[in-house]
Amino acid sequence: MSKDHNLIDSIWDFFCSLKLAIITLILLAGTSIIGTVIEQGMTPEEMAAKTGWSLDTLKFLDKSINAFDMYHSWWFLSLMGLFAVNLICCSIKRFPHVWKTVREPRLVVDDGFFRSLSNVEEVVAAKGTLDGVRDQVVNLLKNRFAAPVITEQDGKIHLYAEKGALSRFGVYITHSSILIIFIGAMIGNLWGYKAYVNIVEGSAIDQVWPRGGKEPIKLDFSVRCDNFDVEFYGDSQRPKEFSSDLVVLQNGQEVLKKKIEVNDPLSFNGITFYQSSYGPAGDATFRFRVRERATGKTIDVAARQGEHVPLPGGASFAVTNSTQSYDRFGPAVQMHVNTADGQHGNPFIVLQNFPEFDAQRGGDYIFSLTGMEQSYYTGLQVAKDPGVWVVWLGCFLMVAGSCGAFFLSHRRLWVTIQPLGKGVGVKLGGSAHRNQPAFALYFDTLRKDLNDALADK
């Protein structure tokens, strides 16, 4: 019986111990390094090809410790679990004591207690009554510290005053915040998803594809992309900003409209759409004004890339390539003209910004590019994370709690006033649970004030 009890006790002590906390922290730090060296989500083969490391070793690491997805491996999650259990046990063990310190402070103390404090002062007021001195000291504490609780017992008067009692809970708030963040992460993992979807300009979707999954997820609304825009830095190909005009439709009704950009997503019903990529959808359409050199007649035609478009007189032309920036000359196409009997002409370049440029080529037809229309698809990341607010709550509590724990302290003062010979004896003692040097300085001024106040009489 008592052996059992000892075993349970020692298991409990193990989970409460701070040694375990420090070891777990160091183990978490140490093992986390593995996943920063081995690229997560790769296969051993890809990694071996990329780095030249031994494939056998990588395969072994993959099998034995799940090194390519280590942050979701059983052993890493267990380490996190151990960390959480340690935190919970430690808090359960210590909390009642702290609660008692704060809720049931020692209002009446004896000489032995004063001796245990590092900040003490004894003053004897030669004249004056017990009550008079009491009022003076109470006033002093009220003005310089905090209003004290007064207890009269056995002909002595005991005062107790405190400040910053709540800072004792800072540590517990910090520690619970870690658990709250864990809970938020679990909620997100269980009831949320990460997915993606591509929407071609002008069309709508009502399902998205989860990452790593095969079955699409059906939404209870649909999203249409009315327009996609990309802006570049100057004439370069470096995108400055890209954006999509999205419309949320429910039962055929437009319920929400927003232009989203990178770093400015759209949220609806707990599901958020992030601008993440883009690309061309289908072939571009090019508009030309064509002048027949012989007659001077002009016509307007449109062509898709690769399509042979007939010209008056039996010839035809086709666009084979295009770019938004041909050197510094802006948008351009590469094209050729086929003669009426089907002979392939030499390719040439037409520049949109220089409509008369093609006249210098000396061909039968003079082409001016009047427009280039490329429709795009917009690539969106889709995320649903019902736990994210729990995570933010945890983060807020962590910052608030650790500031409380680090920068505030619980300061307490005790005073005993008792008759001493013909006069009145006053004992003052104080303690702070943190930052003692600052409290010692404070206590020093308080001690002087007390002496001055009582000397006045």
Binding site: L18, G35, T36, N263, P265, A383, C395, C403, F406
Partner: protein, 283 residues
């Protein structure tokens, strides 16, 4: 006045301050020490002005971005943060000798940035155009800077404590006599980490908030994120070992130096050695 001229002045001032601090330790002249502090302030003001001017220069080029957009800018900001924390500690605690062990970090950063890093102002890719980037970088770097000060103080501690023990309790003279007492050094180490740790916590949180806002995932275990968590774990272990197991003095000093080494790896090693999602890659 251009930002690059001011950056040169900054580098020079940090170098001179570093040398004058060492002269101060050797000469024990308070005037020399005061001079070193003044030169540090001049360097700090030049550094501030240079970062401000560079901000304006980027705006003039049409880039609406804070000057925290590439490795060069982050390193000069790191030097600025180190000076900020050092000068605040100097105003508050007035232990001048610490400058000799903190200025080398700031000077090292500046000279490395000036000599080898690409200082051209380049526009940000869309993913990085966010105010969160600014909050994130500022909080992280104040944290890193506090850890740098803690590391400098810890080195002083280790140098002094050995000599003091050899002298078996007698006060040590010479240059070491100019150092604050080992008790003070140990306490300053802890105080600096107490500033750095909440800042790093905020840095990690603002990073997560930003990632969530930009991509919908607040944590993706990419190498940079993971390393910042590793650093956080190390300093959390430091604090717990100190509070509850009484790890002070030598062991605390070594842990602080070790923590700063991990910080530097998190800041530079991840980009230069490991690859990641982050932007400062490749130098």
């Amino acid at each position: 006045m251009t930002s690059s001229l001011l950056f040169n002045i900054t580098t020079a001032a940090y170098f001179i301050a570093m040398v004058v601090f060492i002269v101060y330790l050797a000469s024990k002249s308070e005037q020399v020490g005061f001079g070193a502090t003044i030169i540090s302030w001049i360097g700090f003001i030049a550094n501030t002005g240079a970062i401000g001017l560079r901000w304006r220069e980027a705006y003039a080029m049409g880039y609406q971005q804070a000057p925290l957009s590439n490795l060069y800018e982050s390193v000069v900001f790191f030097a600025w943060s180190i000076l900020l924390i050092y000068l605040v500690f100097d105003l508050k605690y007035k232990y001048r000798a610490i400058g000799a062990f903190v200025m080398p970090f700031a000077f090292g950063g500046m000279i490395w940035a000036q000599w080898t890093l690409d200082a051209t102002i380049a526009p940000l890719v869309p993913a990085l155009q966010s105010n969160w980037l600014t909050y994130h970088v500022i909080t992280c770097f104040i944290g890193y800077a506090a850890f740098a000060v803690a590391c400098g103080v810890s080195i002083m501690y280790l140098i002094k404590v050995g000599k003091e023990e050899a002298a078996s309790g007698n006060p040590v003279g010479g240059i070491l006599g100019m150092f604050p007492s080992v008790k003070v050094l140990d306490d300053l180490n802890y105080k600096a980490i107490m500033v750095g740790f909440p800042m790093l916590t905020l840095g990690i949180i603002t990073g997560a908030a930003w990632a969530n806002y930009a991509w919908g995932t607040y944590w993706s275990w990419d190498p940079k994120e993971t390393w910042s968590l590793i650093v956080w774990f190390i300093y959390a272990a430091f604090l717990h070992a100190r509070f509850t197991r009484g790890w002070v003095g030598r062991r605390a000093a070594w842990l602080s130096i070790f923590g700063f080494a991990a910080t530097i790896f998190c800041y530079l090693g991840v980009n230069l050695v490991l690859s990641g999602l982050h932007s400062y890659g490749g130098g």
